[in-house]
């Protein structure tokens, strides 16, 4: 993956370095030339003003001054006799031509200026090494500030880029934190102009994606609905046939056929439910749900089936406890679990339901004496269309997926495990609320956030819970929780 920051940093610093170094080189050169020109004019000044000099050793105080740096001055008269020579004397041959010249003498390079006025010849020389050193010093002083600024500029650019890209990170985080159901476009405020086409593109993609998702969800729902019409026709035809040929072998076949259509109808119903829960991850309306009442009504629906199968269906413990949720969905959840328990329990077995509070949670257990689920298959039982049960028992593998979907929407925990002595225990748990909590309308349409808010609210008002006369007295009901388990014993904490 290419990093915009790295590329930008690399290019700007490289460019900056090249420009900087070039600038430094030019400054170096200019400063060096300047220094040399200055030194030349010094040579000339000395030559033009040189007269008889005083003795160095006689008058001048001793100095640390390096004699190497000194100018060498020599004056000749017209006859070519030396009138004055600076000390230490360096023998540089007298030049016959006035002006500047580069001369090699006494094993060194010299810059020489010669002035001739007929009577005298003055020749001033300066070591080339010294001149070069002075020019270099000047040039380096000119170039160094530029060289120092280059790394400073790198740091500055890096920091600025970081700040700019930080704004992109904010946008990225906002996108990453979006809920799957969120249909609002990503806001363009605060997004850099250059990046906004990307965000606009993403928004259009999100919209199309939502459209496709909606279509897919609608397809499942539509398909299920459409299947109902031919299924109804089939059921009616079978009923008509039974009416006319309900006896003997044909009758038995028709009964089998009817069973088949009933299975198909049940599958269509489950598919529809699944599609509905898939459409949104949040519960539309939440209200306090009286769990014993809810479980009693689930039980009532199963009583005829349990009786015809010879399964003893009943409640072992029942204490008043409330949870927050959508009643119809929660009923679906428990109905599915009880239906499973009855379905997989053979004749003569028992299904026991217990409901009650457990600390800050409400606990419902549904325990059966059925075939149970092998331990290694337990993690997969919530997968769609996965069946752990013996193949001779009817089922479509969607029931527990629906249970899980509803539990997730309500923030309930669900657990399946073996029951002591054979069978299965299903446990669902959530947070308790008190019965009399009034939830503001603003919280009635909730996601998990507002569900938590509603629970907090209930926790705060828990002490004022009203009780009906039949409800057992219990400690301050503050929070709600549910456990469904299949176990004949009391609710386990």
């Amino acid at each position: 993956m290419t990093s915009l920051r790295r590329t930008a940093l690399l290019w700007t610093t490289a460019m900056l370095s090249i420009v900087g170094i070039a600038g430094a080189a030019v400054s170096y050169r200019l400063a060096s030339d300047e220094a040399k020109a200055f030194l030349d004019s010094q040579l000339r000044q000395i030559a033009l003003n040189a007269g008889d000099a005083v003795s160095d050793t006689a008058v001048s105080p001793p100095s640390q001054h390096d004699r190497e740096d000194d100018f060498s001055v020599e004056i000749w008269n017209g006859a070519g006799k030396t009138l004055h020579a600076s000390r230490p004397v360096v023998y540089i041959p007298r030049r016959s031509q006035a002006g500047f010249a580069d001369v090699h003498a006494a094993g060194e390079d010299w810059r020489v200026y010669t002035s001739i006025d007929g009577a005298r010849t003055v020749q001033v020389a300066h070591r080339e090494v010294v001149r070069r050193e002075i020019a270099q010093h000047a040039a380096i002083s000119a170039a160094i500030p530029i060289l120092v600024v280059i790394p400073l500029a790198w740091l500055l650019i890096g920091w600025a880029l970081g700040r700019f890209l930080g704004r992109l990170t904010t946008v990225a985080r906002a996108i990453a934190e979006r809920s799957l159901d969120s249909k609002d476009p990503i806001p363009l405020e605060g997004v850099p102009k250059e990046v906004s086409p990307l965000v606009v593109g993403m928004n259009s993609l999100i919209e199309r994606l939502h459209h496709a998702l909606d279509q897919q969800r609608r397809f499942v729902s539509d398909a299920a609905h459409e299947l109902r019409t031919p299924l109804t026709a089939l059921c009616l035809q079978i009923e008509n046939l039974q009416h006319e040929f309900g006896q003997g072998v044909t009758g038995a076949c028709l009964t089998e056929l009817e069973r088949g259509t009933r299975r198909a109808s049940a599958l269509v119903d489950q598919l529809l439910r699944m599609a509905r829960y898939d459409a949104s991850r949040e519960v539309a309306v939440a209200e306090p749900v009286d769990l014993p009442e809810l479980l009693k009504s689930c039980l009532a629906d199963q009583v005829p089936i349990a009786e015809s199968k010879g399964v003893d269906l009943g409640i072992t413990t029942m204490e008043s406890v409330y949870i927050l949720g959508a009643g119809s969905e929660l009923k679906n959840l428990f109905a599915n679990l009880i239906d499973n328990a009855v379905r997989y329990t053979p004749s003569g077995g028992a299904v026991d339901v217990s409901i009650g509070p457990c600390g800050e949670r409400a606990v419902v257990e549904i325990a059966d004496t059925g075939c149970g689920i092998p331990r290694d298959l337990l993690p997969r039982v919530f997968d769609r269309f996965f069946r752990a049960a013996p193949p001779d028992i009817e089922g479509n593998g969607l029931g527990l997926s629906i249970v899980k979907a509803i539990a997730d929407r309500h923030g309930l925990e669900i657990e399946l495990g073996p029951r002591d002595g054979g069978g299965l225990v299903a446990t669902v748990s959530g947070v308790r609320i008190s019965a009399s909590v009034r939830i503001p309308n603003s919280l009635l349409s909730f996601g998990h956030h507002s569900l938590d808010d509603a629970r907090r609210l209930s926790a705060n008002t828990g002490g004022e819970a009203r009780r009906t006369k039949k409800e057992s007295a219990e400690p301050k009901a503050d929070l709600l929780s549910v456990i469904v388990a299949r176990n004949p014993s009391h609710v386990k904490c």
Binding site: T229, T232, A233, C235, N240, T261, D301, V303, G314, I315
Partner: protein, 227 residues
């Protein structure tokens, strides 16, 4: 299960397979069935005002079922209407009942259940609803205290009648012993510990064990129609 007398049913259903087989099933039960396949024909047929009851499918061509329902009711026609639909969302159910439908049945359904609902709607319309309660195969006459179950008809004594009335008011709902005692005995009245069981035993003996179901740990109930 069959309806006495000649009932003339208007079936508004666009699916030919369902229309055909439902019409045949109802005719076999001795009803006269007029079957139309779209909403406009349905409206026309209704204008004659000869039908006892209308079975209306919601997803119709020509005129949508709900529109037709609204048109019928705003036109002042009081004929009983049962909605039959593949859509079973709560909103659709509430909307059609608000618009004046008498009942709502989701596909797929059994003819038995449809006929039971038709009978219930008709009874309610003829003003019998207040005096007769129904649950599954059982009816209870509130005026005569007469209970009927699969051909058996008997008049119940006061306490037994009160018990059955409590149970049949909400078929499919479990009532606890406390709830039943509250309905059967006045405040301050001494209740013997097994009074409710004695009454239930007595009713079961007269009719059948199955009429009152016991749910261990929860209470007693009578089953709903269709379950």
């Amino acid at each position: 299960m069959t309806c006495a007398g000649v009932m003339r049913i208007l079936l508004i259903e666009d699916d030919p397979m369902i229309g055909n087989s439902l019409a045949k099933a109802l005719r076999d039960l001795g009803m006269s069935v007029d079957w139309v396949t779209d909403g406009l024909d349905g409206e026309e047929a209704l204008a004659a005002g000869e039908h006892t009851l209308v079975l209306l499918n919601l997803g119709l061509p020509g005129k949508q079922g709900l529109q037709l329902l609204r048109a019928i009711r705003t036109g002042g026609c009081r004929v009983p209407i049962i909605i039959i639909t593949a859509r079973d969302e709560l909103d659709g159910r509430v909307a059609s009942l608000d618009l004046g439908a008498d009942d709502y049945l989701a596909k797929p359904f059994a003819v038995r259940e449809l006929v039971a609902r038709m009978n219930a709607v008709l009874r309610r319309q003829s003003g019998l609803a207040r005096s007769i309660m129904e649950a599954g195969d059982m009816t209870l006459d509130l005026d005569t205290h007469e209970v009927s179950y699969r051909g058996t008809r008997i008049v119940l004594p006061a306490r037994e009648f009160a018990l059955m009335r409590a149970l049949m008011e909400r078929p499919g709902t479990i009532l606890s012993r406390a709830q039943l005692e509250e309905r059967l005995y006045g405040w301050g009245e001494e209740v013997e510990s097994n009074a409710v069981e004695v009454l239930i035993h007595s009713v079961r003996k007269k009719l059948d064990r199955e009429v009152i179901r016991n749910v261990r740990g929860a209470g007693w109930m009578v089953v709903k129609a269709g379950s």
